[in-house]
């Protein structure tokens, strides 16, 4: 094969990539094999339709997996989206006589529109709300939408498509069309996962706050996941409808929706191959189980509960668990020498121009009289602070003083009852977190703020979310623009990994790294958002004392070489005294003292409230 490619290259013929070649071969098999086998009497009409059902279920599973597996949002009424697609296609092809292919975008559009309308109220919130509204949606669709008199109120006929003189009446022929649709779905899904959209979905599933800290508009991307899922569901429902031939209002009901959720969870959330295999099995099994007479449902339900209790991750999860246990073992063996790293490696500088700081520049951040209360407890009670450009400002205080809450107020994760946050001359207290991140406020979290199941490289790509601008269509169709922008992101991520000296861990999921290594990757990721100001929440936590000294060096580089401004929460007082230009001491939600490190250590109230003997030691 290889020398054939060589020869072709030599002959100046265009050579397609391995992936494109695989797709073309699979497509050819899907188009040619079923009609031929059907005509050779090998593929009976019954078998063709059984495989067709399986393939339709796979289309539906891929659609739902995008929403549930990737973005972590639950739809319990996905059948409504299938139904609207089937009804749309039924009205356009059956009643109006439109052609199948022209109807396709309308079915997709109807599914996307319904998803948008139903998803908008629920997806602004975090939690199970989409699951609940979609239950309402599926009953609304069944009782009202499909029954409206303008569509006759009764069942809708979906005729088989006609292409010229070629009619898809033979089940084998129509199967070819379904399989082509399945390949197309697979392709779109692969493109999606490899794009900034797929990464944003994944980040949202893992931790919405972390996603926002990378500048991801969480509501928008959750809605986008549902709309894409809805469009694919519209097509899947249409395909299923044309396979069955007639669709009544009770076909795409609540039970059907639950069945789809079952495919996806049993197959393994987020595993494309897993959910497709599960869908095919479910498509086949009710027929294979007929030997058990009508015990099949009972046995099936029991197996479902049993499987989930044993393997909560589904098929794919069970396989992955096995693989990961092995990989983690290997990684531990390989990383054994590194767990006690001696120093914080150099921070990446790519994509960051040193910012010049004028001596008389106004402060970068001003926090005025901020109040944050949880119930009756005032976590931050009228705190004010100023962060001048190009300085490292420390924020210290005893546990529960409100340091992290103040951080969250600045980055927008908690609601302030009163006060003002002014960044770079603009009031930002009413902006959502992702916009604040996009304005140049980068931050790290006390518990490492990374997508733990993604690799180091993927996290560094994720962090550059706002630096790529290609949209949904470019992502789904893998256009050259997407490829170009992704290559740029990838180069920057690789450069960052190289400067950290982390090449070996580039493809290791972050959760397998040591605490200190995770912290470094997190800082590198926060830097990849190219922030003007870095807010670091206890960067030294989990680091060995020897390593912390080199952290001080890195922080100074951040200020002196890269011209960044740093706001630092730290418990390790020697580090604070070493690197900070100014220090604020927070106690009981109020600023207790403010000054240079030297002034702070000699302030009796500070020593009394917080430093104690620690200050003396320094």
């Amino acid at each position: 094969m290889t020398d054939m490619v060589q020869r072709l290259r030599g002959a100046g013929l265009p050579v397609v990539s391995k992936r494109t070649r695989t797709i073309l071969i699979v497509l050819a098999v899907c188009v040619i094999a079923p009609p031929l086998l059907a005509r050779a009497d090998i593929l009976s009409s019954f078998r063709a339709s059984v495989i067709g059902y399986g393939a339709c279920f796979a289309l539906m599973a891929i659609s739902l997996n995008i929403l549930m597996g990737y973005a972590g949002q639950i739809s319990l009424g996905h059948a409504a989206l299938l139904g609207i697609g089937a009804y749309t296609s039924g009205l356009l092809t059956g009643r109006l006589g439109w052609s199948y292919l022209i109807t396709l975008p309308f079915a997709a559009g109807a599914g996307a529109l319904l998803a948008f309308v139903a998803g908008l109220p629920a997806l602004r919130l975090r939690g199970l709300y989409l699951a609940i509204t979609t239950i309402g949606l599926v009953f609304f669709a069944e009782n009202t939408l499909y029954q409206l008199p303008w569509q006759g109120g009764g069942p809708v006929m979906l005729p088989r498509p006609v292409a010229g003189r070629f009619i898809f009446l033979i089940d084998g022929d129509f199967l070819a069309l379904i399989l082509v649709t399945l390949v197309a779905f697979w392709w779109l899904d692969v493109n999606l996962v490899r794009s900034r959209l797929g990464r944003a979905f994944h980040a949202i599933r893992e931790d919405e706050q972390v996603a926002q800290s990378f500048g991801i508009d969480v509501t928008r991307f959750k809605l986008l996941a549902f709309v894409i899922s809805g469009a694919l569901a519209g097509i899947a429902g249409m395909t299923y409808g044309h396979l069955v031939g007639t669709v009544a209002s009770d076909v795409f009901d609540y039970q059907f929706s639950l069945l789809l959720v079952t495919f996806v969870v049993i197959g393994g959330l987020g595993s494309r191959a897993g959910v497709v295999i599960a869908a095919f099995l479910f498509g086949f099994f009710p027929r294979l189980l007929t030997a058990l007479k009508d015990w099949d449902l009972l046995v099936g339900a029991f197996l479902l509960i049993y499987t989930l209790a044993k393997h909560p991750g589904g098929f794919a999860g069970a396989i992955r668990e096995g693989k990961e246990a092995k990989a983690a073992k290997a990684a531990r063996a390989g990383l054994a020498g590194d767990t006690d790293e001696q120093a914080v490696p150099a921070l990446p500088r790519t994509g960051l121009a040193p910012a010049a700081v004028a001596a008389d520049a106004p402060p970068l951040l001003e926090v005025r009289d901020v109040q944050v209360a949880f119930g009756g407890l005032r976590a931050v009670d009228g705190a004010s602070l100023t962060v001048p450009r190009g300085r490292i400002v420390g924020l210290i205080g005893p546990n529960g003083a409100g340091k992290t809450t103040l951080f969250n107020a600045i980055s927008g994760f908690v609601k302030m009852q009163a006060g003002q946050v002014i960044y770079d001359g603009t009031s930002i207290q009413d902006l959502p977190p992702h916009q604040r991140a996009a304005m140049g406020i980068g931050r790290t979290f006390q518990l490492v703020g990374l997508a733990r199941n993604l690799s180091v490289r993927e996290n560094l790509l994720l962090a550059q979310h706002s630096h790529a601008s290609y949209g949904t269509w470019h992502a789904l169709a893998a256009t050259p623009r997407r490829t170009r922008e992704e290559r740029e992101l990838d180069e920057r991520a690789r450069a960052a990994i190289a400067s950290l000296g982390f090449e070996r861990y580039a493809d290791v999921p972050v959760k397998h790294l040591s605490g200190g290594q995770q912290r470094i990757v997190e800082i590198a990721a926060a830097l990849s958002t190219a922030p003007e100001m870095m807010m670091l929440d206890e960067p030294s936590a989990g680091m060995a004392p020897a390593v912390i000294e080199s952290l001080a060096q890195r922080l100074r580089e951040l200020r002196d070489d890269l011209g960044r401004t740093v706001l630092l929460i730290e418990h390790h007082i020697p580090l604070v005294l070493d690197v900070c230009d100014e220090v604020y001491v927070l106690n009981l939600g109020k600023v207790l003292a403010h000054g240079t490190p030297a002034e702070i250590v000699s302030d009796p109230t500070v020593v009394d409230a917080y430093l104690g003997s620690a200050g003396v030691k320094a």
């Binding site: 639950i74 109220p121 199970l128 609940i132 509204t133 009782n143 639950l258 959330l269 339900a301 989930l308």
Partner: protein, 291 residues
């Protein structure tokens, strides 16, 4: 309109019972119990078999049905939910789909898919209130719903174990410190939810007409809408929500009685109410803004 208001309150109280079960389970184990309706349906089937087939008194059959539903729910919690402590909550929710499917399959196996009819607990027209007859079943419903509502409110707020149930979700450690075992809280909420669902189904079924496996699932929509009014975690809010949804359902149906071009207005109105609550007060009508 008088009859719509009265039946709205009656039906609403019943929605409130189901919502209460959903909220308690959600508080106790962060799981959306998708088998809530089908568990109650099993209770109705058992009651039907004892009352209509074995000729037992209504109350005896009903109590047996409630006990059966409570037992199924308890067994599911012990055998499945408690063993999935570390599993993602979504997976547990899907396991409840499995329970629902299992119960449906069981019901079809034993009683077939043909519709069954459960008689009213007390027959007759009943007294006239606001110019309409209030049936004995409706009066019985109101009494049972009110007794359960106030009784549970007292139990949850005034007993140590009840407070433990309310606190378990937010502060498991404190709950254990006051001597309430977490496993008991979880088992209690599931058992109670099973019983509440069966009681609700028994009260509402005679006015719906025939029932079969899976046909009562539509009650999920108003029950969930009611739970949303309580912000998914507030029991009294869920109860209030039930009444609100019952009134919306019945009044809107009354308005659209002569409109044939728009089918399913009851469900539609409740779906709309659901979206409205989420848009305007996602923390629930009684809930405080969450951070």
């Amino acid at each position: 309109m008088g009859s719509a208001l009265i039946s709205g309150i009656v039906v609403g109280g019943i929605y409130g019972l189901i919502a209460l079960g959903i909220v308690l389970v959600y508080r106790g184990s962060r799981v959306l119990n998708l088998a809530a309706i089908e568990t109650g349906t099993l209770g109705v089937f058992i009651a039907w078999a004892l009352i209509e087939e074995a000729g037992m008194p209504w109350m005896v059959g009903a109590l047996a049905g409630v006990a059966a539903a409570a037992l199924v729910s308890f067994a599911f919690e012990r055998l499945v939910v408690s063993r999935m402590m570390d599993a993602p909550r979504l997976t547990v929710a899907v396991a409840t789909i499995g329970l629902g499917a299992f119960l449906m399959a069981f019901e079809i196996k034993v009683w077939t898919a043909a519709p069954r009819f459960l008689s009213h607990p007390i027959e007759g027209l009943g007294p006239k209130i606001l110019g309409v007859h209030v049936s004995p079943t409706q009066i019985l419903s109101l009494i049972i719903v009110a007794a359960l509502g106030f009784g549970l409110a007292w139990f949850l707020r005034r007993t140590d174990f009840g407070l433990g149930v309310l606190a378990a979700a937010q502060d498991p450690v404190a709950t254990q410190m006051v001597g309430v075992r977490l496993w008991k809280v979880s088992a209690f909420t599931w058992t109670l939810a099973g019983a509440l669902s069966a009681i609700a189904m028994l009260l509402v079924e005679p006015s719906i007409g025939g029932f079969a496996a899976g046909t009562l699932n539509g009650l999920f929509v108003p029950a969930l809408a009611a739970a949303l009014v309580g912000g998914l975690t507030n029991p009294s809010g869920a109860f209030l929500g039930g009444i609100v949804m019952g009134l919306i359902d019945q009044v809107v149906r009354q308005w659209f009685l002569d409109v044939t071009w728009l089918p399913g207005v009851g469900t539609m109105a409740i779906f709309a109410a659901m979206l409205l609550v989420l848009m305007l007060r996602p923390q629930g009508l009684l809930g405080r803004a969450r951070t």
